[in-house]
Assembly symmetry: C2
Homo-oligomer: 422 residues x 2
Amino acid sequence: MSDSTTNTLSTWVEVPKNSDFTIYNLPFGVFKNKRLSPRTGIAIGDKIVDLSVLDQEGFFSDLFLPEGIFLNEALNELISLGKVQTKKIRERVQDLLLADNEKLRDHSARGKVMVNRKEAEMLLPVKIGDYTDFYSSMEHATNVGKMFRDPENALLPNWKHLPVGYHGRASSIIPSGVPIHRPKGQFKTPDMETPGFGPSKKMDFELELAFITGKSTKLGDSVSTADAEDYIFGFVLFNDWSARDIQAWEYVPLGPFLGKSFASSISPWVVTLEALEYFKTEGPVQEPEVLPYLQCEKAYSFDINLEVYIQPEDKKASKVCQSNFKYMYWNVAQQLAHHTVNGCNINVGDLMASGTISGKTEDSFGSMLELSWNGKNLVKLETGEERTFLEDGDTVIMKGYSEKDGFRVGFGEVKGQLLPAK
Amino acid sequence: MSDSTTNTLSTWVEVPKNSDFTIYNLPFGVFKNKRLSPRTGIAIGDKIVDLSVLDQEGFFSDLFLPEGIFLNEALNELISLGKVQTKKIRERVQDLLLADNEKLRDHSARGKVMVNRKEAEMLLPVKIGDYTDFYSSMEHATNVGKMFRDPENALLPNWKHLPVGYHGRASSIIPSGVPIHRPKGQFKTPDMETPGFGPSKKMDFELELAFITGKSTKLGDSVSTADAEDYIFGFVLFNDWSARDIQAWEYVPLGPFLGKSFASSISPWVVTLEALEYFKTEGPVQEPEVLPYLQCEKAYSFDINLEVYIQPEDKKASKVCQSNFKYMYWNVAQQLAHHTVNGCNINVGDLMASGTISGKTEDSFGSMLELSWNGKNLVKLETGEERTFLEDGDTVIMKGYSEKDGFRVGFGEVKGQLLPAK
């Protein structure tokens, strides 16, 4: 969505019905193909706008961008130019794609600028500095508490006072499409006298969204909830692959480690905060009242439909979960304010994930752990197969999109296949 | 220590008695001063060997190093050349510094090569990708367990089966000498009905050593204990500043977060694994026997004396702790093998810290939490002052060195002052 207008816009690019990549979206990503080295693109319909070619052709000459800014292997340097510049770039592209704008439409370089999305390989959009995972869905935290702790007091005492989170492993974050191997590790179930070792038997996904920071802070400084938006560049879908048996044995007292650090997958197109502005919505009432540094004057929740599919090898995909980002108890402004209230500095390209996004109904639970209630229930697939946790060969696909008044802005998908243990 | 010899070496450089930076050590660091831009140096006595000048003068010409390799702001690219090359560089410098080697000693550029350490500002030696903190001292884990859990069953069931660890915040790791501000955050003591917010009242240090990885792995691959040394470039002292009240309230169930992420300090000189080889020693017996992937055929413990001093503002420093790295239950080869057994990939410049290094005796506890037994005992300083936790203005200094048969290899120090909350 353009910042200033909700007028209907039309483009000369053919955009399929229900495409996530409308003229209102225009997410940033990094791609390459057989001919082209890594570069920055903006997605529209089934095409990618090659920003490096637009730049070479002089379409950004009045913005005085650093030379080669669109030929980097990640968006960090581009994002570091600041929101004023990245907004101008995105709005320039939007303008050039409008149906009645002939500048690019009738330009001789149009063929070179517009790359087929199908032929492109998408890379990790940013070089991630630090990655933080929150735990901000009350339904998810309650489900986990009921299963593993006290069903009557499922939420821990701190949960409603602060957005609980932990540091995750940045090196193993991979782009959509890269398969992973079932991890090996230690586990110990109550029936075992001593811990065993081997491939995880409880492989899971976690449905999450993550934001990418767009502005750095100095050590010792904090970001207020009111200023948080200045520091958020955009969002991606996030699959926080989890090995529940490894996690259960290792996580006390210092939190998840090897049960998570083998891989996390993200969608390659970074949907900007500006594109999601139109889909902002009120968050849940927070009771008890949160401390002043966590209070927000504006709405920071987003109405983003989320879906998870499991596709057994060579078979059709079945939807196993539909959730929504608006269910989150803690919003992104609160997460960022909390993360920095102690003076922890952030860099451009940090990734902060939401934690599993579960809703109230059983079909909205964002992990197999919850969907199968730790293996007690069978999750039925349309193929007739059943699952408690993931099986080798399964591909997990997550989708996300916002839709309102005929406007649609989506993330595409993050997918990854689970291969057998090495 | 040179790899192949324990012969006594002498150098033409004046090395003060008890200097950590002997001809056997030769640690790598990054420095700058009023005249010089950031560059790689090797410490000897009170001097720094400016490797960039040595390179310009052709002393490394037979090694075919990439141009400008010693003019980077961090050691990552240098370390990435691999151990074969970095060992050759260090051995070349050692050779050039030998008393009877006239090549540098009598060279016209000698004055330009040898920089005064006092006039140099030391920078963070590596750009840290991911930072992991282990919890590998049995005495420390036992002390914490006694204080906060069950004195009769202080160690948790997993502790002797795997090196417990967690991901830490990499962005807030700072070099020695940079002061920090007392962090603000939420805390809730048992007497409080609702959580409060403000500057931490329980500021602490943690005495640790950390290793820096020198070789990367691919996602899905693991490093065995037998191969671990190939992946360890060297060690630094590590002060894992901790806010105990913030940590106590936040850490369940996902581990430490804001109680640690405001800052960690490291010593600037990376002491290579080769330099520490001579000080290897047997580790403690591990009972029960660990799983096969954690078993070691060789000794991987190191006899490194460690000391912590507290220096109140404008007063003299008092030693409050003396410990030793050899007390660690889990060694670095086990930490690395465990970290990667699930396929988690590592990059050059990852930092893996030991966790607080405590010994059996009360004067060897590596944190104020343990020294004051969570505030119950007063820690006496030589100035007549007493401490339970750190006070504003206190500087914490950690030192570390190995000494055997007249050979000494040390880390210098990591120090940092605690300033009042912002």
